[in-house]
Subunit: 362 residues, 4 copies
């Protein structure tokens, strides 16, 4: 669950009350599967194929990744975003390395310590207000090289779109990459919402990944209309030589791989990914516009993707959350997160804003 | 890939030649999704639900498990059979325990050392010809208790159906369970093909799991018509208190959980699981009958489920495998494995046997 | 090597130039073994004893720990301070816990990520200027309880004496302990220089460990005149039930245990530990006094133990370090660390200060 | 504790009764420190040295290892034999490798699963009656190369002297090495009793390690008169590039390293190691000769080092063990192990045999 800081009591409420919710703004992973994706699964559901990825659907999907991210790309499908991050990073580090990342990052806040447990690495957080980090922030952790008492800085992990809904420009990414490479370290990108970033930047995936010298990418699809399935993409040669063992030992090798591959085929066909992401982003802008019209609500982050962070009176939030569930982000300042999705409708927004407005003005 | 011993050269052939195969006898995971399962996925694909399992489909599926396996059952869905085995065992052991299992077991042969890497435990194999172990075999590893130099025997893992296609009776399981419990150890069952065992024994799941005093069960569905999704079932109270953390840190918590849950709902409805498993088992018997009519082919294991082990001349196998792919099991004795599936047809068998017969008699 | 931030180039100089140094102020672990300790080793070096701690010297040493720290104390000897910290923490946490500590702590800076690799836990640093943390600082990491996406706060680790030479009062420790316990977490103390703290506070060990409700203690002796050997002390019942397995699997069970035990026996006899620590502390005060007389040198931390942090012109430091080796601490502000030891003499201080003074005034 | 199979009850007896024993035949690690070793520790105990191995004593000891084992040797001191085995193997494997070893090996029986926990590798045992393995035995585990479902065979570990007291010839080792290298695997030697092997073979260490193409060696000294300290020796270039991080993260970097180094300096001076090992071996032969004169006692293994395995009536063993403690090895056949040591005297043997004889003939 990607979210920030909330307490047990709030959480308990969620679990007790919201077993099945109407379409709301809790998370883009609360949405379902896009019909085109499901249709593709149905289409490949015929006859037998060799398991574990030695099938022609997987071959086709892999080829699509090479077209999109460059010929050097080596791609490995896994089940979850956590697995993509953790196994990918494990594949390019040694246990005595450190991994530097934003304090808001999924690997720092939301993966129950999976990176440390599996890779053995130390994860070093960098304070950030908007989810973005830069070389100056990273550099505070860059010392002790060659000194065996100190975890050796091995990789930097950035998130695109960040957990705060903000987006790195290609230039910002390239600058981090160059900086990181000057220390013989690698740059990983957690792309759980990569499509939303591409839609916002309005450029191809490649321009802000491979071409910005990112080494390793967790390419997500689940939050943008897929059922499940993420891709660990090694963008430079030589990084993935043994990754097939890492994935299998990491419990993430799918026997019926064609059903992940088929989803990616449909995802890329006719730019479905872009339509979905653009729609979600547009809905966030729309939602922000409508909310802005209500007095006494502060929007705390730039709207650069499908997330919206707002400061609301707590009692208002509590009341709205009975009808439309969403997560608190930072309870200290009564900040909440609203996420739009590929299936959010203008009517959803209208209904939500109407309720919010009426409660605020009561 | 569940199979035994084969060399790289054979494997390379597979990968080069068989990108997309006709329905054959390579593995039950080469088959697709049963239409009823896919229909159920489609059915629940509407609106939003809270992610990560806090939805009513997951609640329903969990309830079904309690009905089937007993009210004490705590069930956690994961993506793969390897994950079900490894995380389940991790949940009930300490790193200084040993886990005793058949030398043919999936955790010993086919999971790339995931159990050792993740749980930290030592896995101790027991020699077996037919995949089944018993208390006498297990006892050779039972010493050194309380002696800190020695990994403390913590769990026994048996596989039902075994990798050799054989099936434990409830009595055999109960005997192992009693023996294991007398040492304060736990009994785990790898049930990747649990349905085939139930179909063969013609008794409910519960009779040879919970009622036979199994503590922990990996309940598989993928090999019997599901798309993906396995269930870690704790059958005794108190074993799963912290397992939600183990699953998340183990990278196996599904965000869109409803699509696993829905599959299990359809799997249990109208005993779909039983129809599928019974069919596969019957097809194996049929295949064995037909093969028996051909001279000079030895069937090496009892047909108790959907697997068939045969000794064939190597050149014959090579030739057949051009048309119907299947795996060598033990190359030293020219033994091969044939697996039937929920979707195997009599016509598939007829075609295969006709070819085999003609090559053998040439 | 306990020290802060320095670069490879400085380090290289150390290794090339200082193979064998005169008595200086680099680290208290550069000093040798106190003669009484070595004499005790010699004394027990007669005949055979059962290995691995089942001997009467170990029994005697363990009894001394119970006398000193309380009857509930369970003590396990290991070889290094890193092992005492990491294995102790491993013994009282689960891999999905987090461990909160000062950003200066040894487990954060100086153990090459051993805590993460071995325990699997996430280590969460807290910013601190003087090495001491308090409940307000700790509380920023206390959220997400019962939420499986988030590493569960499991333990807090404080260092006594801190890496900055400062000392917690018993009251400060008790306050942290109470706070930590109110969250069902445990309090660990890294006591690599515990004797120096006791000498400064002028109270028994017990007053600021067991009686201040510390749960788990790494009790160090190496830096205060022992050859090697540290003690993991569990101060509350029920914490150490399985620790003998943790220690053995953690590669830290000594076969000839009597030679660690004997050192502790001599260390406690006639308060040798106290004489050594008091002397080192007094030498630090003396050194500070003398240095204060030189213009343009800033002492940056309170002198509460045997460490002294000073800001010197870099070229001065470089020159002095040719004769008396010591470590830079924070190169950004030209801060250096000077450590006194049980064997530091007034003459050592005189010689050092004379040189420093002459270089400063040149 | 190196020994075979015994039960808790026996163990409890040990712990309760034998807190401090006379010189007996329980284990060579029950003996003390040779006076020359202790004298060397005393000798280097003067002034300060840089910690963690950057001192001239460590430099000298390392140079001695290069003289003895060859110029390519890279040596790293650690505290225990378990650590030498586990960290050395970790340094040359990946977690998805398997390590093949004798079922009697220390890493299989006596290290509480440290190899699996720390390296993540699967340890695959090979059955052996006399502790020695060969290429034919190893080959049963050599399959599944390049197949990601299967742990990739990465290293073979042999023990010299074996746990059964037997010794590999240089030719036998070279044959295993050649075989292992033909699979691109590495050969590790657990040399906890390496000196006893050299003494038996009457050849230099190098002849059956480096010259026999061993890649990696755990060089032990503790069982042959040292206080503590073992050496991980990489015998081929390129294997140890990152090992300094492995050792530190593995909690095995000694701060006061000179006290390990000094022991090795004394150990090698004037062939002290050889005198000690030869003496122990000769005492084992003497003991065997004397025991052979008693009727109804079977010696089960060749006497090739300082260990003796005998079958005795259980009640006899029980009675003798009240006076001279020793370990049961295989209780099923009433087999016991007797170890001689560098400090065993002819009088010790005489006293023991006299008692044994009188109990047997009663």
């Amino acid at each position: 669950m990607d979210k920030g800081i909330f307490t047990f009591d709030v959480l308990k409420t969620i679990r007790d009350v919201f077993m099945d919710v109407k379409r709301g703004f809790a998370s883009d992973n609360n949405s379902g599967i896009h019909p085109d994706i499901l249709a593709e699964i149905q289409k490949v559901n015929t006859g037998h194929t060799i398991g574990y990825g030695d099938d022609r659907f997987t071959e086709e999907a892999e080829e699509l990744f090479r077209i999109i991210l460059g010929n050097e790309t080596e791609v490995f499908f896994v089940f979850t975003g956590t697995a993509a991050n953790v196994l990918g990073l494990t594949g390019v580090t040694q246990s005595w390395n450190s991994i530097i990342t934003a304090n808001t990052a999924h690997i720092e806040q939301d993966e129950c310590g999976a990176a440390e447990k599996y890779s053995g690495c130390k994860v070093l957080p960098v304070d950030t207000q908007n989810g973005k980090i830069n070389s100056a922030m990273i550099s505070k952790h860059l010392y002790g090289f060659d000194f065996e008492h100190h975890s050796q800085p091995g990789a930097v992990s950035i998130t695109q779109v960040t957990e705060m809904g903000t987006v790195y420009t290609p230039k910002e990414i390239k600058e981090i990459a160059d900086f990181v490479h000057s220390y013989d370290m690698l740059l990983h990108m957690d792309g759980a919402r990569l499509a939303n970033a591409a839609a916002f930047l309005d450029i191809p995936f490649r321009s802000f990944t491979t071409d910005a010298d990112v080494d390793l990418l967790s390419f997500g699809g689940t939050k943008n209309g897929m059922m499940y399935g993420e891709a660990v993409c090694f963008l430079k040669p030589g990084l993935s030589d043994n990754f097939k063992y890492v994935r299998k030992q990491g419990m993430q090798l799918a026997s019926k791989m064609r059903y992940i591959s088929a989803q990616f085929i449909a995802y890329f066909r006719n730019d479905l990914w872009l339509k979905n992401a653009r729609h979600a982003n547009n809905m966030a802008i729309k939602l922000a516009e409508e909310i802005s019209k209500i007095d006494n609500i502060t929007i705390t982050q730039q709207i650069e993707s499908n997330g919206l962070f707002v400061i609301l009176p707590q009692h208002v939030a509590e009341e709205i959350r009975q009808s439309y569930f969403f997560y608190p982000w930072n309870e200290d300042i009564s900040e909440y997160r609203l996420m739009t999705s590929w299936d959010t409708t203008e009517s959803d927004i209208k209904g939500f804003v109407r309720l919010l407005s009426s409660v605020m003005n009561r």
